[in-house]
């Protein structure tokens, strides 16, 4: 995260270290402000982390402890009726007994969760890979050659990218109906693969590669395909990682598309399915929730810089 850290300039240093009463006052004030900011950020930061930590720790509770703690909530929602339950609700950090019983039940005794998890993987992996591939080709086309028509098309991509699902799902649904792929995996895959998001991002990335590099390769006798695979793609590796992470979280989280395009609940990914188990098997829900967030969390731990870079690319760049 050295990304945003700027060096202290000479003037700043002199202002900071000068020994006058005013300077001292200024420094004291600065110190106090910094301390306050640190405390504030630490507290809010921990608050932000809390839901994740709680989900995690709760997944190690025994089913009886879960129902003792949250029975009052989920028992009533199950029946739909509102009644007063005397039990108190407890949000506990540390389980009384640390067990893996929730995980064991999810992993070995109830295959439907694993099936839904597998559904999620099956949707997301091809979308990430092929969206990046299609986008890499297109971005190379956009970045390497400029023309008025291409600029217009690129502008269209931006508008499409900014459209909410409420708008884009209608065309997607119509096409899927016409191609008879409604209620099949293709209905999710194909619009995902051709989503303009990665094209926009990668084009921005590739436009930073100097033309002279391509020209040099071209003079050395490299064909366009070679320039693309040997020069452009290796340079963009970081960008591909960042954009891949952004695409991954977007589709790992998807709810709207399966709801509209897949009427068969068997095909739904875990993101949709999770909302349904909350009412039923509450004792498992935390373990399933943790299993579902392990993959993105690992990505976050190992690829945070890429994520940050991806976000900055998305933002620092405007047309």
């Amino acid at each position: 995260m050295g990304l945003f850290r700027r060096k202290e300039s000479k003037i700043e240093k002199r202002v900071r270290t000068v020994q006058t009463p005013a300077g001292r006052r200024r420094r004291r004030r600065a110190f106090r402000r910094k301390a306050a900011a640190t405390v504030f950020l630490a507290l809010t930061g921990l608050l932000f982390l809390m839901p994740i930590v709680l989900t995690f720790t709760n997944s190690f509770m025994t089913p009886s402890e879960i129902s003792a703690n949250y029975g009052a909530i989920f028992a009533t929602t199950e029946q739909g009726a509102r009644m007063f339950v005397g039990e108190t609700v407890n949000l506990k950090f540390i389980p009384d007994w640390v067990t893996f019983s929730q995980y064991i039940t999810v992993l070995f005794k109830s295959p439907e969760y694993l099936l839904k998890f597998w559904n999620s993987v099956i949707y997301v992996v091809p979308i990430v890979v092929f969206q990046l591939f299609v986008a890499a080709l297109a971005s190379f086309g956009f970045a390497r050659y400029k023309g008025r028509v291409k600029q217009l098309i690129f502008f269209l991509y931006i508008i499409l990218m900014l459209m909410p699902y409420q708008v884009t799902l209608v065309p997607n649904y119509l096409v899927a109906g016409r191609l008879h792929i409604l209620n099949t995996r293709w209905a999710i895959w194909l619009p995902g693969i051709f989503s303009p998001f990665a094209v926009y991002m990668l084009t921005k990335y590739m436009r930073r590669i100097p033309d002279s590099l391509y020209e040099a390769a071209s003079i050395d006798g490299a064909g366009e395909w070679e320039i693309f695979t040997r020069i452009c793609l290796p340079i963009c590796r970081g960008g591909l990682m960042s954009i891949g992470i952004l695409i991954f979280i977007d589709y790992w989280n998807m709810v709207e598309q399966p709801l509209v395009l897949l009427s068969d609940p068997e095909l739904h990914p875990l993101s949709v399915f999770l909302s349904r188990i909350n009412t039923g098997e509450i004792s498992l829900a935390f373990a399933v929730a943790v299993i579902y967030m392990v993959l993105p969390m690992l990505m976050f731990l190992y690829g945070e810089e890429y994520l940050v870079e991806g976000i900055i690319y998305q933002g620092g760049v405007k047309e």
């Binding site: 995260m1 945003f4 700027r6 003037i11 700043e12 202002v15 900011a37 640190t38 950020l41 809010t44 932000f48 839901p51 994740i52 989900t55 909530i73 989920f74 009533t76 339950v85 949000l91 080709l137 297109a138 086309g141 956009f142 050659y145 098309i153 269209l156 508008i159 900014l162 459209m163 909410p164 409420q166 799902l169 209608v170 065309p171 096409v175 051709f194 436009r207 930073r208 100097p210 033309d211 366009e224 693309f228 979280i249 790992w252 709810v255 709801l259 993101s271 909302s275 909350n278 929730a289 579902y292 967030m293 993105p296 969390m297 945070e304 994520l307 940050v308 976000i311 933002g315 620092g316």
Partner: protein
């Protein structure tokens, strides 16, 4: 002198923003070199080969069907194809469910977008001081972005259920319990979830924007003992204008996506205050009323384009002000 410095900074910033002067010069150079007609023709052909898969896919899945959507929105039904003008739009516009969904979405966006922009800017400004543990805090704020909403929805239910934790605290303080998700406060619960999820992302954008503010001006202002507040409002905010616009657009788009959270928390039939545009669309999908779907989609896309257009123009205006 100062003017030259400004110009330099601006170019640097532009370069950082990917729109380098090289491109513009490069374009001109290509025009001057007229002898390359053949190569550029071939080049043009290859470039289209690269673009082909994506352009075909986008055309097939987004552009052409969008044309069909426009067509459906002006005919009476997909079988008879009788042109009815704007009737469908009027019908959708007068539909009470659509009105409710649009008003709810609008109300939510009006609350969520300014808060998301303001609070994340505040966080980024606080982060700007060289405070200890900065990168750790950064990770803390960013982590919600990576967590699937479906995973943490349980915690929100535990907190905001009628028998939930917040109500326990409230009764302990001597207030009446509130059925959070079934009351006028329902949007607040979703708002919290929205902010939790999006602040980190916005904060990163603002941090990178703040890092791009030319330090010379800040230093000069500081030497002339301008207060930090003054420095922020007169110098930094101007250089942030494009970031602010971008964050606003992204927050707006994300606020339209908030259906996800609502659906996971409350299912298909939420309390009235939480009935979002996507709920309306889903229900219309179920009844397969193509006319209503199409006209609603087009109304929304027009509204989106208008809003984004206004933001772009505003940003352009602010940018010129800087010059």
């Amino acid at each position: 002198m100062a003017g030259a410095g400004d110009k330099l900074n601006r170019t640097l910033r532009r370069n950082a923003a990917g729109e380098s002067s090289r491109e513009r010069r490069g374009g001109r150079r290509r025009k001057i070199r007229g002898s390359q007609g053949r190569r550029s023709l071939k080049g043009r052909f290859t470039s289209w080969l690269f673009l082909l898969p994506s352009v075909l896919g986008v055309a097939l899945f987004f552009v052409i069907p969008f044309g069909v959507v426009v067509y459906y929105s002006v005919v009476n039904n997909p079988v008879q194809h009788v042109y009815v003008g704007l009737d469908n739009y009027v019908r959708t516009w007068n539909n009470t469910a659509f009105r409710l969904a649009a008003m709810n979405t609008l109300r939510f966006s009006l609350m969520a977008v300014p808060l998301a922009v303001g609070l994340s800017l505040l966080l980024a400004v606080l982060m700007e001081d060289r405070i200890p543990g900065r990168s750790t805090f950064c990770s803390f704020f960013l982590s919600p972005m990576m967590v699937p909403i479906a995973s943490v929805i349980l915690i929100w239910q535990v907190l905001f259920d009628f028998n939930g934790l917040v109500n326990v605290w409230i009764t302990r303080l001597g207030f009446e319990r509130i059925d959070w998700l079934k009351s006028a406060h329902a949007q607040l619960v979703i708002l919290l979830l929205f902010l939790w999820k999006n602040l980190g992302y916005n904060m990163i954008l603002f941090m990178s924007g703040l890092a791009g503010v030319p330090q010379e001006q800040v230093e000069v202002a500081r030497l002339e003992s301008a207060s930090d507040m003054r420095i922020f409002w007169t110098i930094k905010i101007r250089y942030l204008s494009s970031t602010i616009m971008f964050v606003t657009i992204m927050s707006l788009i994300n606020s339209f996506k908030v259906f996800r959270e609502v659906y996971l928390l409350t299912g298909d039939y939420p309390f009235d205050a939480l009935y979002m545009l996507q709920h309306f669309m889903n229900n219309t999908f179920l009844s397969l009323d193509y006319q209503k779907l199409s006209s609603a989609a087009i109304i929304m896309s027009v509204v989106m384009v208008v809003i984004i257009g206004i933001l772009f123009v505003a940003e352009d205006y602010l940018d010129r002000d800087l010059e």
